[in-house]
């Protein structure tokens, strides 16, 4: 048993999945037809935390299937596609437990997420090697942070705003099932890694799913939690960044090629702070009644 209660992230591989007995697992698939089936396979011995479906086409071309209703779902699509086609998909997605992520590298993504959120679809940005448009990103943050009417969530900003604590750090990689405090990644050969990137790069913690129960004693695992402290040993853009607490250097590797994260996330941390203080004030105002 995994005492640390990690959630295991694996590929769409039935043989592998049948080997575990976890309280929660995330399965990544690229096959829309497989979503419902893989959900049922997981439930035989595990519990589904989420199925992550990556599609190559635009969201508006997707044909959600009936059996998707049974599973919590993340859909990663490059773009939303044409609005009128999206409206058709929207009606099919509405009854599902789904969050849709669009690629941050496309100019229109930032507006499309506003559209989707305003029409009740929980959604978010995902980041890959494509450059981020920080100006558009800041507009999207404003949209999320200062809503005029209730809307669906937009990640990772919604997560940051709601989880923010003035004296704590946040790791929003969890939105992408990539926070080692909560998720571990495993391949078909049972190699276990801290992150999806480490798994791809062959940087494994160990081999064998049964070892996960002793992960707290694993040296590489323990070392990971010290690494962020090392970032402050020398002056760097991230160590001097006011937004560090909510970002944790997520965009560190694109600081030179695609600068702008500091300004955008500094605005976001200010907004998160304001949001937190407002919430605190609201709580203060509530009169304490006796228990009935």
């Amino acid at each position: 048993m995994n005492k640390m209660k990690h959630i295991l992230v694996c590929e769409d591989n039935e043989e592998l999945i049948r080997k575990f007995s976890f309280e929660a697992i995330v399965v990544k698939t690229k096959n829309p037809e497989h979503v419902g089936h893989i959900g049922r396979v997981v439930e035989e011995t595990n519990k589904v935390h989420c199925i992550e479906l990556t599609i190559e086409d635009n969201l508006s071309g997707l044909n959600p299937l009936d059996d998707w209703k049974e599973v919590p779902l993340h859909i990663k699509a490059p773009r939303m596609g044409h609005f009128l086609d999206f409206v058709r998909v929207r009606h099919l997605l509405a009854p599902l437990s789904v969050r849709v992520f669009l690629n941050s590298g496309y100019e229109e993504t930032y507006t499309d997420l506003q559209l989707m959120s305003s029409l009740g679809i929980n959604c978010g940005l995902y980041f890959d090697e494509n450059p981020i448009n920080w100006k558009e990103c800041t507009d999207l943050m404003d949209f999320v942070v200062y809503p005029k009417v209730p809307r669906a969530t937009v990640e990772p900003f919604h997560y940051i705003i709601t989880e923010y604590q003035p004296k704590e750090t946040i790791n929003f990689s969890g939105v992408y099932f990539n926070n080692p405090e909560k998720y571990l990644h495993i391949d078909k050969n049972e190699n276990v890694a801290l992150t999806a990137e480490n798994l791809t790069a062959g940087k494994y913690l160990f081999n064998g799913v049964e070892q996960i129960q002793n992960i707290a004693e694993n040296k590489a695992y323990k070392a990971y939690f010290q690494t962020w402290k090392k970032k402050f040993h020398k002056i760097s853009a991230c160590s001097a960044c006011p937004a560090w607490r909510i970002c944790g250097g997520f965009f560190e590797n694109r600081l030179e090629s695609n600068p702008g994260c500091r300004e955008a996330f500094s605005e976001l941390i200010d907004a998160a702070d304001l949001h937190y203080n407002n919430k605190e004030k609201e709580n203060e105002k509530q009169p304490q009644l006796c228990q009935l």
Binding site: F83, S118, D139
Partner: protein
């Protein structure tokens, strides 16, 4: 209900055009983008308003016009579009396809129709094509800009295309600082006579007249008022805005004739109530300087009793455009 101007260009150049000054003074290519549109829809919804009017220029020229309508419907809004009905075949067919399944109780068009005998042939034919497709969700609009005019064609259109039996009648007003055709004050009586010469048509075809803003009460005789009462279905008002127009640049103004007075950014307001309050106050201030279009307005008991607002302010403000600023600042363009 706010008017969202999604374009600033038009396919016609009507002699009375109330949007002309605004279009001339602004970038004709300017169009409302999605982000601003979403902001405005949120703004209206937050104000408890689920009705919106789309205007231009010609709003159907916006490449996303059908998408905007669908978006509004998806958000639970009802949408009214002020259009000339002139669009090319491709656009018309696309609009038809997109709105095929839309709830007819949630969409409407006010088609501003000019006298076909005074319009060019191809324009008139395009309007007819539009009405063939959308007549059942359209009502005609007609702007009276001459004291004598022909209106029979409007009833023909209503009957031929199964249009809604409501005729929106606009009294044309001057645009301060611009030359446009409009009904001069001494011409109003003649205009009313012309209008009421169609009383029988209204009654026979059961069409109701909806009077736009700026009609003065005292220009009617009691007999005319009685007729107006009947053809308007008992809905007679003699008010003056604010109408509230919001442009593609997110600037707001009270109404087109006053588009250069007290222009503000939409971001200066938290909701429609604040915005309306602002323009009501401005109008009240202006009315302390000019009570109405006639000298009699100063002491008029109909005005005191809020039965008439004193006609369209644009008539009086137009007189102040070129004078030295000796009056209260509210009456001058800024």
């Amino acid at each position: 209900m706010a008017n969202l101007l999604i374009t600033q260009t038009c396919v016609r150049s009507c002699p009375y055009c109330f949007a002309k000054k605004h279009m001339d003074d602004n970038d004709r290519e300017g169009m409302m983008n999605w982000k601003d549109f979403i902001y405005l829809v949120d703004f209206l919804e937050a104000s408890g308003d689920r009705h919106v009017s789309l205007l231009g220029g010609e709003p159907t020229l916006h490449p996303e016009f059908p998408d905007y309508i669908v978006y509004l419907l998806e958000r639970g809004f009802s949408v009214n579009t002020f259009t000339s009905g002139i669009m090319n075949e491709k656009r018309l067919r696309r609009l038809e396809r997109v709105l095929a399944g839309a709830n007819p109780d949630k969409i409407s068009f006010v088609v501003n129709i000019n006298d076909p005998l005074k319009s060019n042939y191809s324009e008139t034919e395009r309007v007819k094509c539009f009405l063939e497709s959308f007549g059942h969700v359209s009502s005609p609009g007609y702007n009276m800009y001459r004291p004598k005019f022909e209106m029979g064609f409007l009833f023909d259109y209503i009957n031929t295309y199964g249009m809604r039996k409501h005729l929106r009648l606009g009294l044309t007003h001057p645009i301060a600082g611009k030359k446009n055709a409009y009904i001069r004050l001494p011409e109003i009586n003649q205009m009313i006579e012309t209008l009421l010469s169609y009383e029988e048509y209204f009654i026979r075809f059961r069409v109701k007249a909806g009077l736009d803003c700026g009609f003065p009460l005292c220009v009617y005789t009691d007999e005319q008022l009685g007729k107006m009462y009947k053809i308007s279905g008992g809905r007679l008002t003699f008010g003056c805005g604010p109408a509230v127009d919001i442009g593609p640049d997110m600037m707001v103004w009270c109404c087109f004739p006053l588009s250069d007075y007290h222009k503000k950014s939409i971001y200066d307001f938290n909701n429609m109530q604040e915005l309306l309050e602002f323009y009501r106050e401005k109008q009240m201030n202006i009315r302390t300087e000019v009570q109405g279009i006639f000298e009699e307005c100063d002491t008029c008991h109909w005005r005191e009793e809020n039965m008439c607002d004193g006609g369209c302010l644009a008539h009086q403000l137009n007189n102040f455009v070129n004078e030295a600023p000796v009056r209260m600042p509210e009456v001058y363009q800024v």
